[in-house]
């Protein structure tokens, strides 16, 4: 066992898959000699060569389109978006080409599109986004958002092995802030589509994912300390496909639920989750499920503004107490 950061865990996962399967290659901007702005692919070009770690022009459509073409032929490309915000530039390629390829044409497109997402880092409006909601309504894609180092490793490996295109949203706030002991020898693999109970509880469920899981855990501890209530924290880990069963099970157990995410509220993923809760366990609810999300504005740069716009631990505490 050694302690690895969330970032190192992703790096290890990619490295292991590169070693295991020659069909895997990496493609993106500045991932070679630089190793990417956050060093997720550090040392990989030196180890695996420039043919398997391809530095591209500033061309997100080309990165993802070329990955798709190579994937049709048997490769398993892993694409890096330098910041996930720029995935917007390849929105057509992802939603119209990649996502539909299997259904309309029986084409295999096992690609991973990964990159740093998320706020709380003073990144301003274009280096802080959480694009889950932009792709949730795209059948054919899978969406993964790990919260822990173990899941970051286990899910990147599962994503690379998956037969279908997977969007892998890393949270840059977690990159170096969280550490975890990971087994040396044995292989870490986390199944896509399966949620994780991050904390057992009986009074209330917080359904969330990615960096918000840690805020939910903080809130849960505070609520136990101060109010003596047991909050269950459900870490979805995968948003598409969504682990409906895990959500239903937890809600039936606690009868009270908050859905929390970092993206803006209107049109965010929480709406989908609440609709499903409503469809499947309406009768079990003691109170309406409520959302704790960012305010409906672009994410501003100045600390007091970013802190105000994004949901904080205190907000989860207040919302839980009110519920």
């Amino acid at each position: 066992m050694t302690e690895v950061t969330y970032l190192e865990a992703i790096r290890q996962g990619i490295w292991e898959e590169m070693e295991r399967d020659p069909a895997v290659f990496l493609i993106g901007e500045d991932i070679g000699t630089l190793g990417g702005p956050f060093r997720v692919t550090e040392g990989m070009q030196a180890k695996f060569g420039a043919e398997r770690v391809i530095d591209t022009p500033v061309s997100e459509q080309a990165i993802i389109g070329a990955a798709a073409g190579a994937a049709h032929m048997g490769h398993r490309p892993v694409c890096e978006m330098q910041f996930i915000d720029f995935i917007a530039c390849a929105y057509d390629m992802l939603t119209n080409y990649v996502a539909t390829a299997r259904y309309r044409a029986g084409l295999r497109t096992p690609i991973v599109v990964r990159g740093p997402s998320g706020g709380y880092v003073r990144g301003g409006p274009f280096h802080s986004q959480n694009p889950e909601a932009a792709f949730l309504h795209t059948p054919g894609l899978k969406i993964v958002c790990p919260a822990t180092a173990r899941d970051a490793k286990g899910l990147i490996k599962a994503a690379i092995r998956d037969e279908d295109p997977v969007l892998f949203f890393e949270h840059k706030y977690l990159y170096r802030r969280i550490k975890e002991e990971l087994p040396e020898g044995e292989e870490v693999l986390t199944p896509i589509g399966v949620a994780r109970v991050a904390r057992e509880g009986s009074t209330l469920t917080i359904v969330t994912w990615s960096a918000m899981v840690w805020k939910a855990l903080e809130a849960a501890e505070q609520l136990e300390r101060e109010d003596g209530i047991q909050v269950e924290v459900l870490d979805l880990r995968t948003l598409l496909p969504m682990d409906e069963a895990a959500i239903i099970a937890s809600v039936k157990k606690t009868s009270r639920v908050l859905v929390a995410h970092e993206d803006t509220r209107t049109g965010g993923v929480a709406g989908e989750i609440i609709a499903r809760i409503n469809e499947h366990c309406f009768e079990w609810l003691d109170a309406p499920a409520r959302r704790v999300c960012a305010h409906d504005v672009p994410l501003p740069y100045a600390p007091p503004l970013e802190d105000f716009v994004l949901p904080q631990t205190d907000d989860l505490v207040a919302a839980a107490r009110w519920l």
Binding site: I54, S59, G74
Partner: protein, 353 residues
């Protein structure tokens, strides 16, 4: 084609092509046009479910360019490249089924017209967003390069598609990586109603090659031999590791963008003028004048095409649409099918009081 490749006929006569191959070019062009003519009738009869797109007058550029590829090479067509698809082994039966959305169509009725693919035979059907296939075909060429296979990718773009960001990003990436990709631009004068001069200020579309640091070649797209020869140069260069080439084939779209388009935007006389430059008429004349083929060869070929189309049509005309039960499968490898929506499996309750 079944005609035996006898020594006599196998001596190269033009562009390194023998009698048999020269006649085959005619066959593919004729097959393309006749198939479209059948589709027009079917469209009038309401048998074509969606829109119908013609390549009348462009058969030579489609056929000649695709003919420059080898088995194992892969192309991606545009809407006017029915001929290219046929050369690469797509069958009239498949095309008829696609247009009529038959259960037996290559996409089982999910996609339209020539939006279908078989990477074994060597064609990857396009999606509608223009330009998207350029990065994708760059990826297929990247696969050839990474696996060190002497194979080539070819992607068609129109004078319109070249204005898209996807085209730019894809061809630029291919150029930087020196990928075995040939980008064939069919300059047919229009993008829907938009004339080429409103599409680019460049004097020639091949000028764009300079901006990507790759060679550009231009040929008369209504001359099937010239089209073949020029594309062949680009294909050979790509196969030899020389990287991408932009090939401009100058032709003309004599029909509307789709069947319903009345071409109100076309200057008077233009279509007629190009009609006198019909690629099939030109090639027929050339075949007979040069003696590469004789009248009977051509008649025989025309009859054969008609017979093949009769047979294909007879086979599929009465086939059913796909069954609705197939609509939900294959979005993912796993799960195998999307769930049917709840409202489809309800036992109605008594009316509300």
């Amino acid at each position: 084609m079944t005609s035996p490749d006898t020594p006599a006929s196998s001596a190269p006569l033009a562009a390194g092509l023998n009698r048999w191959q020269l006649l085959e070019l005619y066959y593919w062009m004729r097959l393309t046009r006749s198939l479209e003519e059948r589709l027009v009738l079917l469209h009038r009869q309401g048998k074509v479910v969606g829109g119908l797109f013609r390549s009348l007058g462009q058969e030579a550029d489609a056929v000649g360019s695709a003919y420059a590829l080898e088995p194992g090479d892969i192309l991606s067509p545009l809407i006017r490249n029915l001929g290219s698809m046929l050369v690469k082994g797509a069958t009239p039966l498949e095309v008829l089924r696609q247009y009529m959305a038959k259960a037996q169509s290559p996409t089982a009725g999910r996609e339209l017209n020539i939006h279908f693919n078989d990477l074994e035979r060597g064609f990857l059907g396009q999606v509608s967003p223009l330009g998207a296939m350029v990065p994708v075909m760059a990826g297929i060429a990247l696969h050839f390069k990474l696996t060190k296979q002497p194979r080539v990718g070819l992607v068609y773009v129109g004078d319109g598609a070249m204005s898209t960001g996807a085209f730019h990003e894809g061809i630029n990436f291919a150029a930087v990586q020196r990928l075995p990709l040939v980008v064939v631009c069919e300059n047919n004068g229009y993008a829907y109603s938009t004339p080429a001069r409103l599409q680019t200020a460049a004097a020639h579309l091949t000028d764009k090659a300079i901006g990507y640091g790759i060679p550009g070649l231009r040929a008369d797209g209504n001359d099937v031999i010239a089209t073949y020869e020029t594309t062949r140069v680009a294909v050979d260069r790509a196969r030899a590791g020389g990287g991408p080439t932009l090939v401009e084939l100058v032709t003309y779209r004599r029909k509307g963008h789709a069947e319903h388009d009345d071409q109100r935007y076309v200057p008077a006389g233009e279509i007629e003028a190009w009609g006198r430059n019909d690629p099939i008429d030109r090639y027929r004349a050339r075949l007979t004048e040069t003696g590469w083929a004789c009248g009977p060869d051509l008649t025989l070929t025309d009859e054969r095409v008609a017979a093949e189309l009769d047979e294909a049509l007879a086979r599929c005309i009465d086939e059913p649409f796909p069954d609705s039960s197939t609509a939900l499968t294959g979005v993912y490898a796993d799960p195998l099918a999307a769930p049917a929506e709840w409202y489809r499996s309800l036992t109605p309750r008594p009316p509300h009081d």
